[in-house]
């Protein structure tokens, strides 16, 4: 094949014409010229990340609040009847906050229907729990307590890992993903096996009612709050963390210490670590990537 002598400038990125370069010739200027690094990369800054980590802090705090309440009830330091009243009261407060948030975004007619639905389901849950309490109390009677503690830990870890920490984009549209459903189920199973360690029916009822409030209803509220202002989020996080630390403080100083360290790490150090680790981000894009078809 006859080929003309070419200078490096003449090299073109084509295969159909034989060029006068060796097959292993690397064109210095054009090789990898279409490579783009970190093209879609938006660097994260510290404080927004701290704010995002608040949801995780809140979640862990609620788990420890729940555990402290369990220990208190089990050691008869807290009367189950008081606990039922506290749960009822905080439910009402939570519902009031929900209503306030609803009044901003949702239409009046829908709100009325929503209220009826909420009333109906709360009565249903209340009655169902009431009737199931004796069964739940003896559910794991044949199992040793050690296994229950281990199982509970695993289930709560699962719950923390799978929980949905995202903020709610459009109000009213609560779409549960599979992982968040799994997470909720893990938490409910954990509280049921814990409750089965209690001796009185009323104690079991109080604990499970509390767990329903903390692990199923509160996450909905947290989604809504997350979409709202920074101050509200910061305050709730502060309140919950302090409550968790204060409640554990009455039980064990070691746990209190570990919990406070853990919460501080998650809220303040972990975002800093992520910001630092971003300098290792290396996303490579080029013509070899599978194109994304744009269809109207």
């Amino acid at each position: 094949m006859t080929v003309l002598v070419q200078t490096p400038k003449d090299w073109t990125k084509i295969l159909w014409k034989r060029q006068s370069f060796q097959d292993n010739y690397i064109p210095p200027a054009s090789f990898l010229s279409s490579l783009r690094r970190n093209s879609n990369f938006k660097p994260q800054t510290y404080w927004p990340l701290v704010l995002l980590s608040c949801a995780i802090t809140q979640h862990i705090s609620t788990i420890f609040i729940f555990l402290s309440i369990f220990v208190w009830i089990q050691q008869s330091k807290l009367d189950p009847r008081t606990m039922v009243w506290i749960t009822g009261g905080s439910s009402l407060v939570g519902y009031a906050i929900w209503e306030v948030l609803d009044s901003i975004s949702v239409k009046t007619s829908e709100r009325y229907a929503n209220r009826l639905k909420a009333l109906k389901s709360s009565i249903l849950i209340f009655l169902a729990l009431m009737s199931l309490t004796p069964v739940l109390r003896t559910l794991t009677a044949a199992t040793s307590s050690d296994s229950i503690w281990a199982l509970t830990s695993i289930l709560f870890i699962l719950n923390t890992l799978l929980a949905d920490y995202s903020a709610l984009k459009n109000a009213g549209q609560v779409q549960g993903r599979l992982t968040s459903v799994l997470s909720m189920n893990a938490a409910m199973s954990a509280s049921i096996v814990l409750a089965s360690r209690l001796t009185a029916d009323i104690a079991v009822f109080a604990l499970i009612l509390f767990s329903v409030q903390v692990f199923t209803l509160y996450p909905f509220l947290r989604h809504r709050l997350k979409a709202s202002s920074t101050i509200i989020q910061g305050t709730t996080t502060m309140l919950l963390s302090i409550l968790a630390v204060a409640l554990t403080a009455s039980l064990s100083w070691t746990i209190t210490f570990l919990l406070s360290i853990g919460l501080l790490l998650i809220t303040f150090l972990a975002p800093a670590f992520l910001v630092w680790a971003q300098k290792y981000k290396n996303e490579i894009r080029g013509p070899w990537d599978v194109a994304v078809p744009k269809v109207n």
């Binding site: 014409k17 097959d23 990898l32 490579l35 070899w288 990537d289 994304v292 744009k294």
Partner: protein, 463 residues
């Protein structure tokens, strides 16, 4: 012209499967045999009866090793199990050089890993493009990087493919003059695919009253079938004299059927189902425009076949596609619905105005690509590799592969050596059943001249 050597092609992808890689290996082997080399192919067996040793025209010996494929005809990467087979085959056939194909072929990777133990040189051809951002790519890219630490030369099928392979296989090292700069290794080549132009002769001239648009592709997401589904109704509405003929099968077939039903285009869009490679030309010559909507493509042999059969080509501008044809034979579109419609409309106008001459296009493609040329260029690579000094084991161990995969690969290398020494003791070389007879070149040439069209007949046998 180099001295004749014995070459073993190793890949999971070979006849009786059909596809780009399979065809590439077969055609390259045939041309190398014509040039006087001895070529064998090593692949895995196919149930139920494609086992043992087979011969294909022209004098190509194929070893089918008993390995089970897991998915899409690829075998599990297990690093050691093929060594007893490969050692025996490579020694008894007196192989000088192995040529592994395709980055998802684990048997090819193993060939590269083991061959050095017997002083056999290695070449690797990469046929596909991969991304970097999903778990599967990260894993396979690391496997590739580990294998390419040991290879003597790498061949890619397009310039874009080479850029991709260099990054994936980490085929660069610090420059000797300036340690802060990275330079690509000297042993990375670009040698394109080719096609047998005689198999894709244009059909008789067509009237321009109705224009048939041909689509021949696997009906999968990566082939951009979503774009076809979105654009076909719009083109049918805009041009009443246009028809679509779609060949191929795959998961997106259902989308096409639904689209056809929704817009009542049963008489305008013909679905052929799977098309055998031998029937491709007969489908191509029914149309005058070839439409390719791939989202990624390393070389795009289907485009070339269509252009060779005299069709005007419209393609998405992805991967290595812009490199394979001159701009006056192909229209490019961005992978967007509107742009594809625009490009097709322009192509229809070009064809209706009679500005595209199929016979001239065929003659031009004939001069672009030729397997003879590919074989000659591959021979240069072989020659360079054979003449270069072989890498020592210590050098192979030293080549860094990161803190995690590095030690694993070092262990694999050392265990491989120990396994090899065990086999040397267990199955001594003296006891092997060596091949003493092969096709005599003079006899081969004589027979070949009898069957002047042996290439075509060989191909018919394959199909």
């Amino acid at each position: 012209m180099m001295d004749p050597i014995s070459i073993a092609m190793i890949s999971d992808f070979f006849h009786p499967n059909v596809g780009g890689v399979e065809n590439h290996i077969y055609m390259l082997s045939a041309k190398l045999i014509h040039k006087g080399h001895k070529v064998i192919v090593i692949t895995h067996s196919h149930a139920p009866d494609r086992v043992g040793v087979r011969w294909l025209l022209p004098s190509l010996k194929v070893y089918y090793i008993p390995f089970l494929p897991i998915a899409s005809s690829a075998t599990l990467p297990n690093f050691f199990t093929s060594l007893p087979y490969l050692r025996t085959i490579l020694l008894r056939e007196h192989i000088h050089l192995i040529h592994a194909h395709a980055s998802l072929s684990s048997i090819g990777h193993e060939g590269i890993l083991h061959s050095h133990l017997m002083g056999i040189r290695t070449v690797f051809t990469d046929h596909s493009l991969f991304g970097f951002d999903d778990a599967a790519s990260i894993l396979t890219n690391k496997l590739l990087a580990g294998t390419l630490r040991n290879v003597d030369a790498v061949i890619c099928v397009s310039h874009t493919g080479r850029e991709n392979t260099v990054l994936r296989g980490e085929l660069f090292e610090r420059s000797e003059d300036d340690p802060s700069r990275l330079v690509v290794r000297e042993n990375v080549y670009v040698i394109p695919n080719a096609l047998v132009a005689d198999q894709f002769k244009p059909g008789p001239p067509r009237s321009t009253e109705t224009i048939n648009i041909i689509v021949l592709s696997r009906l999968a997401y990566r082939k951009g079938i979503d774009l076809l589904v979105a654009t076909a109704p719009r083109i049918c509405a805009a041009f009443p004299n246009v028809k679509f003929i779609v060949g191929g099968d795959g998961p997106k077939l259902i989308d096409l059927l639904q689209m056809r039903e929704k817009y009542l285009l049963q008489d305008r869009i013909e679905l052929l189902g799977p098309v055998r490679h031998g029937d491709v030309r007969s489908v191509l010559i029914q149309g005058s425009i070839f439409m390719n909507t791939s989202l990624t493509e390393s070389f795009g042999i289907a485009i070339l076949e269509a252009a060779c059969a005299g069709l005007y080509v419209v393609s998405t501008k992805v991967g290595g596609v812009p490199e394979i044809l001159p701009e006056d034979m192909i229209s490019f579109a961005a992978p967007e619905e509107d742009d594809v419609v625009r490009a097709i409309s322009e192509a229809i106008e070009i064809v209706m105005a009679g500005k595209h001459d199929p016979l001239r296009a065929h003659e031009r493609v004939r001069t672009f690509y030729d397997w003879e040329d590919v074989a000659t260029r591959t021979e240069v690579v072989y020659d360079t590799v054979i003449k270069s000094p072989q890498m020592e084991l210590w050098e192979r161990i030293q080549r860094q592969l990161g803190p995690f995969a590095g030690p694993i690969y070092t262990i694999i290398l050392i265990v491989d050596c120990v396994f090899f020494l065990f086999l040397e003791w267990w199955m001594p070389r003296e006891d092997l059943h060596y091949v003493t007879h092969h096709w005599d070149q003079a006899k081969y040439k004589e027979v070949r001249s009898l069957f002047a069209c042996s290439e075509i007949s060989a191909h018919n046998v394959l199909d």
